[in-house]
Amino acid sequence: TDSFDFSRYHSISEIYSFQDMLVAENPNLVSKVVIGQSYEGRPLNVLKFSTGGTNRPAIWIDTGIHSREWVTQASGTWFAKKIVTDYGRDPAVTAILNKMDIFLEIVTNPDGYFYTHTSNRMWRKTRKPNSGSSCVGVDPNRNWDAGFGGPGASSNPCSETYRGPRAHSESEVKSIVDFVKSHGNFKAFISIHSYSQMLLYPYGYTTTPAKDQAELHNLAQRAITDLASLYGTRYRFGSIINTIYQASGGTIDWTYNQGIKYSYTFELRDTGRYGFILPANQIIPTAEETWLALMDIMDHTFKNPY
């Protein structure tokens, strides 16, 4: 994987090959956990970074739940290599991995991602047909059992924010739900989207402040400050509902309600005028700056066990 070109976008098969290569190169640090299958039968691969122990406190990072947000899957691939490269070299990463596990799902919506490469670059949702409608797919960030069906999601299968027929109806979502519940020891959950430069914490479905709001806010502030220190990329931060809009059935509202205190959503850059079509030459700078913020959150999680 040293020769993998992180500065360009890759197909799903190239990313899956990268994952297998990384595992093969680092048998004592990286393994691949298949937590389920997508609707079209693709494996939902999660890379597990662990230095031992059983069921250690863990950190979850996912990218690509909205398939067209290509800079996120590309950044996730870079994160995977960064973790392997830094373990044993960077004191903070080494300290974290000596006590905690990191789980990284790079292609969280594989059917959608494949579809963006082959049929429709603008595709965002899953690819499961909706009975009674000619429109396909559910927004996997509206399908979680957290305020599900409330304002901030659509009941129209043709909408980009269609919540689905019921909570956890999408296998891509249900597989994570089951994995998180069976693991039972996640302490941080970070779901990465693009674009609009934001770092968000719960809630999205209610204006009720999260009970840990003060701590989440302060940590977010520190994280975006460090992020901006690299290339000056300016982020906004706050709770989902106060910073962007009401969104029901969201990922991190569910994880927070599961007791995973450090639940965050990133909206990565486009600082210019490209939107989802961020040029590939911005992949590495985006991943590098995001990593600084991720490290703040992971380090804080490590130093504040609960």
Partner: protein
């Protein structure tokens, strides 16, 4: 393969909350087949909307008659997608021998 010739992405900046709700009303105009890349949040944050060619004129007239300010963020989406595809393919060609 879905293509996007003539689709434009408009970056819309509301002056006040009244204009913000006018922009939000666009979400319900299903016939325009709009794709909100960046949804309506607050006055300070621009709204980015992909507009198919068949709706462009209507949407621009709607915005201009309400004196809502917008700029064209992407002139022709397909041109950008073709560039992205070409870059992926050429990078893959370079990488091939190495692999």
């Amino acid at each position: 393969k879905e293509t996007f010739e003539g689709h434009q992405v408009l970056r819309i900046v509301a002056k006040d909350d009244v204009q913000l709700s006018l922009i939000k009303d666009l979400e319900d105009m299903i016939e325009f087949e709009l794709d909100f890349w960046r949804g309506v949040t607050d006055v300070a944050t621009p709204v980015d909307i992909r507009v198919p060619m068949h709706s462009l004129q209507s949407v621009k007239i709607y915005l201009e008659t309400q004196d809502v300010e917008y700029s064209i963020m992407i002139e022709d989406l397909q041109v950008l997608l073709d560039e992205e595809q070409e870059e992926m393919e050429s990078a893959a060609r370079v990488a091939e021998p190495r692999n």
